[in-house]
């Protein structure tokens, strides 16, 4: 197995506002390997973004973050001084965000932004920095980078701005690139371009990529590993094919069922997940998905289920195994089939 580049164990992040505390992350274990393309999938409030911000040390002042282990590239992030950690995060670990405009100063040129980063993280100045800036802009597929260096962020389209941000991240030669919903604000055609770019860059530069997204469709053919988050916890994680074709957790199954079938049109109704996500201000004691889960039984709401391992890296946090879920589902279908035939007979 490839070398571990980021190792997170038992990460907890809590936000305190003046009258309540929100437990955004409640014990996340995550490993990112060298050359990985990991997708962290979850809905809003699942903690997917906060997990990565906690690793980066990008949390607001009212947040408290604890972890048993937080190791990046053999260095313990927890033991680092604030300054060392800041140098590390932003250099060796780079992050890009959903809205590129908020990360760029509208009054400064693209060249200025890139030169700043190159100066701070690699000590490049003057001509050297310019040459490097042009090189990374070309690398992310921005046409005629020499001219665009002197343009301002508003002269770039949304997709191009996101490319500039990726270029800024790459200019530090990171080992790990974290992309926080980089394409949510973009159109599908641009989205596809940006995602392909990320994929290509990972191969060319040999870095690892963590892509945070809410859309299972976005990452299907790009990532090699997937972690599904819900209610501040990882619910299931594993290789991409396992997650898409053999999901073991009811939430993953429900999520895949809630989107239209890619092969055809209108095979009846979508399978909606009833209810809405739990409030993390007052998280349930048991499985956070249990109030919405078709397979929930008494034990689910009482205690947090432990992970069941399915070989290798693959595990799901549920009281039932995938096989048990299948059996239950088959039984329920048979039941439904029986009642419908009964109804027919009655009619």
């Amino acid at each position: 197995m490839a070398e571990t580049i980021l190792h997170v164990k038992n990460l907890h992040t809590t936000f305190f506002s003046h009258h309540k505390k929100i437990e955004a992350i409640r014990g996340v274990d995550l490993d990112v390997y060298d050359g990985d393309f990991l997708a962290v999938v979850g809905e809003s409030g699942s903690g997917k973004s906060v997990t990565m911000k906690s690793v980066m040390g990008l949390l607001p002042k009212n947040a408290e973050c604890t972890a048993d282990e937080l190791v990046f590239d053999g260095k313990d992030l927890l033991k680092m001084s604030e300054k060392e950690r800041r140098q590390m995060c932003g250099g060796q670990i780079a992050m890009i965000f959903q809205d590129p405009m908020t990360s760029l100063d509208p009054l400064q040129t693209i060249g200025f932004h890139l030169r700043e980063v190159l100066k701070r993280h690699r000590g490049l100045r003057g001509k050297e920095a310019d040459a490097e800036a042009i090189r990374v802009l070309a690398q992310v597929g921005i046409p005629s980078p020499e001219q665009r260096l002197n343009e301002y962020p508003h002269e770039f389209s949304g997709g191009m701005r996101q490319r500039v941000l990726i270029a800024m991240a790459l200019s530090c030669q990171p080992k790990l690139l974290i992309a926080d919903e980089p394409t949510t604000a973009l159109d599908v055609t641009i989205q596809a371009q940006i995602l392909e770019l990320l994929h290509r860059l990972r191969d060319e530069l040999g870095m690892s990529v963590v892509l945070i997204t809410h859309d299972l469709g976005v990452v299907a053919n790009l990532c090699n590993r997937v972690a599904v988050m819900y209610g501040g916890l990882i619910m299931e994680q594993g290789e991409v094919d396992d997650i898409y074709y053999r999901p073991q957790h009811p939430y993953t199954r429900a999520l895949l069922g809630a989107v239209p079938n890619p092969k055809g049109h209108r095979e009846g109704r979508l399978v909606a997940i009833p209810g809405s996500a739990p409030s993390l201000a007052n998280p349930p004691a048991g499985c956070p998905f249990s109030p919405r889960c078709d397979f929930a039984h008494e034990a689910c709401s009482q205690a947090m289920p432990e992970f069941i391992a399915y070989g290798g890296e693959r595990r799901a946090r549920c009281t039932l195994t995938g096989a048990e879920l299948d059996a239950k589902e088959a039984a329920a279908n048979a039941e439904a089939g029986k009642t419908s035939t009964e109804v027919k007979e009655l009619a």
Binding site: H18, H19, K20, S44, G45
Partner: protein, 290 residues
Amino acid sequence: MENEKHWTRRSAAWLAFKRDKSAIITVTLLFIIIIACLIAPLIPIDPDEPDLLNRLAPPDFSSEHIFGTDEMGRDYFMRVLYGGRVSLLVGVLAMLTSLAIGIIVGTVSGLAGGIVDAILMRAVDILSSIPWMVLVMVVSIFFKPGLTSIILVIGLFSWMEIARLVRNETQTIKERDFVQYARLCGVSPALVIARHIIPAALPTIITASTTSLASAIMTESALSFLGVGVQQPMSSWGSLLNSAQGTMATSIYMAIIPGLLIVIVIFAFNKVGNILRVFANPQVMSGERS
């Protein structure tokens, strides 16, 4: 859930208040001043009765005239209290007048747009380009002197800033989906303003009204100081300041007391405005949006 959200709103305002020490002090003082002015008629001392033996007595908390007496020997404490009644009354009523005009002009102008907006806003520009003091002085010559005319004069010439603020706010609010929807469904413009626009513009209106209240009190003081405000024997803080001019050299306290009160009250109203604005802020109201 419900209580929690409402509590958020109230506690946010409370926090804004608690953090600001000067707000606590001035608002407490304001409270005391208002209560004192309100209960003044219950105190059995006549503010107009001269005590000729005790003219221009300096403040002395052990004597019967705790703020001293004026040049006619009238009890200055009571005169300040009665003056406060007039000043605050003028302030509140003039504020309401200018608020009413400002909100109507502002919302109509902002909602209607086009030619209506252009005409109303040019009128606002013209009115606000004339120095208000000149305007008020000229107009007050035509009005019969008295409390009502002072209130009207101040109210009628101080709404322009409110109108402008409300109009700008209305222009943003009217683009929101729920306003567009109401108009689509044929809800009358008056109802759109009352139901959707004014509640949404409330933070702005509250801030504007406290500023306007403070400036009305100040204008009244200035008018009375210049001698075109309230007439004797009625007094306001401004007219007390005015009459203190003659005895400034010997009895400086006669100028300091009403002057200080004006400053405290205006400062306090601005503070109240800041706190109320936090309270009416829709972001605070709607809780967190993730």
